[in-house]
């Protein structure tokens, strides 16, 4: 099992992902706290950053497409302005002042 992650480490991870991908982090502060709690819990439970808004099938192979940032994030951000969890936003969505809402699940399983 990997070493445990703290919430601070998880926040750094999300910042790095957003920067690398050209996204920004959610502007909804309470949602950010909830999602980084969820990601930290999942890392420490499964050994990888399982998407906090999706259900794990219990192993890395089955969960591969929903390890954060998930395989659907780029398409969701392009179409809706934010990922399924609403953790990552496009810069345009952030500038629009819109509020993130649940979006359809792109994962087909």
């Amino acid at each position: 099992m990997n070493e445990k992650k703290t919430k601070e480490q998880t926040k750094i991870f999300t910042e790095m992902v957003a920067k690398k991908q050209g996204w920004v982090l959610t502007r909804d502060e309470s949602l950010y706290e909830d999602l980084t709690d969820g990601l930290t819990t999942n890392y420490n439970r499964y050994g990888y950053y399982m998407c906090p808004c999706r259900d794990s099938d219990g192993n890395r192979e089955a969960d591969q497409d929903v390890i954060c940032p998930c395989a659907y994030a780029a398409a969701d951000i392009a179409e809706y302005g934010h990922c399924y969890c609403s953790l990552y936003w496009s810069k345009e969505f952030a500038a629009s002042g819109k509020k993130a809402e649940a979006i359809p699940e792109r994962r087909n399983r």
């Binding site: 969820g38 906090p52 808004c53 259900d55 099938d57 219990g58 969890c85 609403s86 649940a102 979006i103």
Partner: protein, 100 residues
């Protein structure tokens, strides 16, 4: 729907419907959905499916898929054992749970 699951019961004044919620303990929109129900004093029961054994969870998901023939994502709400609300879209929850 499943007598082998231990749901958490939440008291509420509004009992128009029988509300059962399948949620993830790690999910932001699940948390908001449960908060919406509490805020509107809707009686419901819920279970965090990520906290139950994998084989039980698989059994539950298969049964839900068989009954409702829908993709399962969370929060997943079963209303009166007959219909569902999937994902927390507040206007839909408001319309379905408060206006009907």
């Amino acid at each position: 729907m499943f007598d082998y699951l231990e749901y958490t019961e939440v008291e509420g004044d509004l009992r128009t419907h029988d509300i059962e919620v399948y949620a993830l303990s790690t999910c932001g929109f699940c948390k908001r959905g449960l908060a919406f129900l509490r805020e509107h004093k809707i009686a419901f029961r819920y279970i965090y499916v990520d906290l139950i054994p994998l084989e039980v969870k698989t059994r539950v998901k298969e049964a839900l898929r068989a009954k409702f023939n829908e993709h399962i994502s969370f929060p997943y709400v079963v209303i009166d054992g007959k219909s569902t609300l999937i994902g927390f879209l507040e206007p839909d929850w408001r319309k379905t749970l408060l206006e009907n």
